[in-house]
Amino acid sequence: MKDATQSSPDKPLPPGDPVTVRDLTVAYRDAPVLWDIDLTVPEGRLVAIVGPNGAGKSTLIKAILNLVPATSGTISIYGKPYAAQRHLVGYVPQRGSVDWDFPTNALDVVQMGLYGQIGWIRRPGSRERRIALECLDKVGMVDYASRQISQLSGGQQQRVFLARALAQDAQIYFMDEPFAGVDATTEKAIIDVLRELRARNRTLVVVHHDLETVREYFDWLVLLNVRVVASGPVEETFTLENMQAAYGGRIAFFSGFHAPAIVGSSTGSRALGD
């Protein structure tokens, strides 16, 4: 039932770390958006990129995907430049980055995830249709396959984007705010899919804005504010000091944060881990 067509667990892993970033600086005109980023993302983790507005979270993903030019620095995916490793990468852009009134349906959007495999000029056929339907099924959207995309709710649109990335059958996924403004059903569907992917040793790099769920959803954290403030396992990096360093004084308003941080430091280890 599961993964009839999607190749997988047996696929040989490419050598090297999923993502390595060295001395990356990105500047739009005068202002640096990212400054001297050094980053290594290990295999098979669910990684949150967290930071205040304007911290450069989306820009970091786009720089890794070669969508914005780096002013300086090097980026590699499994040891090679992005252009050579595209087939290993899946991408979920921000939902608001496209016009959802575009005349197309959910199935069609998911099939776009296969265009890279199909190649130029050839059209998607029955194989692509079957894979796309399976991917829609995994996010609970198979009943909406022929729905015009503007008739879907925001959460459903987000799940269609996720299904499109699943169709890419990638080794590492980059997702830009997949949980932003979605309903509870969608949030549950997305996190289930992300966990299943991690169980199959996929690496997931997710721009995330909800500090309340960082600890529950993710096992690796990249705390960003133009520079990398902290990067590592959530238990070690999701601390009050780090959060204050990234967010400034504003973090004091976040009440939910104190409990785990204090418990963590007083009892010695992850008392509130799930």
Partner: protein, 305 residues
């Protein structure tokens, strides 16, 4: 009255005018679909205006008024206008509407300067270049129609071959880039095809009105369908139908200019589509809303039992 239908087939002039207008509508309709969906309806307007100096320059350089020569000139400056817009948007802080405005006015201004210069040069053969401002379909000869048909066929074949690529590029250019499509080159190609559509229409509707033939059929088609393929096909049909209708009206009511009649026919289709298209039409929309209100009102009065 049925004479007009017979004439479309057998009358040499009317046949050329009708075919030329239909071709313009067909090609403009398909490429306009992408322009409208990418919210670049005004791009066609800028490109059409950018074609004018090319027409004048082609005449100044060659002394020929052969449509093929002028079309090449129009295509060259239209294409330069395209590159200018893409560069301005990419390299400066100006937004796209400013880039479009700059290219439109600068190129059109240059075109008028060249045309005025030609008129005052005392060259008697120049008479008639002005017709590219508003178009003059009656001057279409069979040779023009054949040229339009061939270039239109090339443009439409490219769209047919790269339909999937143009679709993903129009819907989600960032994702397209992430899976390896050269979006910069796709942009130049698609815009160049719009230039081709503009050039095909110049002799019939002229630089000033050409944009309408890119926008109107596509805007109307969007009202009736939720699929890109059928939108392009319907837009092509609306464009061609406006072309034929405009040609027939302008001939049967003497002294009405063809180009503007084609545009008016397309506009009529837009108005009907916006009002009456089943899902998106304003009329059904307001009827649905009124019925819903009535039902809510009734439910409100009967509910507390």
């Amino acid at each position: 009255m049925p004479d007009i239908f017979r004439d479309v087939i057998f009358d040499y002039t009317l046949r050329n005018v009708a075919l030329g207008s239909a071709l313009l509508g067909l090609v403009g309709g398909v490429l306009g679909t992408f322009a409208v969906l990418r919210r670049q309806g005004l791009l066609g307007d800028a490109l059409a205006h950018a074609a004018l100096p090319g027409i004048a320059l082609a005449f100044m350089l060659t002394g020929s008024k052969a449509p093929i020569v002028l079309m090449v000139g129009a295509a060259v400056t239209g294409w330069l206008g395209t590159l200018a817009i893409i560069r301005i948007v990419g390299d400066t802080r100006l937004s796209e509407d400013a880039a479009l405005g700059i290219v439109l006015t600068v190129f059109f201004g240059l075109g008028i300067v060249f045309l005025t210069h030609i008129q005052h040069s005392g060259d008697a053969s120049q008479a008639g270049l002005n017709r590219y401002l508003f178009g003059q379909a009656a001057t279409l000869v069979q040779e023009n129609v054949v040229t339009m048909a061939v270039s239109g066929a090339v443009a439409l074949s490219i769209v047919a071959l790269l339909f999937k690529e143009f679709k993903i590029f129009s819907f989600d250019p960032e994702f397209a880039a992430s899976i390896g499509y050269p979006v910069g080159r796709l942009n130049v190609l698609l815009t160049s095809l719009i230039v081709a559509a503009v050039v095909i229409g110049l002799q019939t509707v002229g630089v000033v009105l050409m944009a309408a033939m890119l926008i109107a059929p596509a805007a109307a088609a969007r009202q009736w369908t939720n699929r890109l393929g059928s939108m392009a096909a319907l837009s092509a049909f609306f464009g061609a139908a406006s072309g034929v209708a405009g040609a027939m009206i302008s001939v049967s009511a003497s002294r009405l200019p063809t180009g503007p009649m084609v545009i008016l026919a397309a506009t009529a289709i837009v108005v009907v589509s916006i009002l009456f298209a089943p899902e998106r039409g304003i009329v059904w929309d307001s009827l649905r809303r009124r019925r819903l209100r009535r039902e809510l009102f009734r439910a409100d009065r009967t509910a507390p039992a």
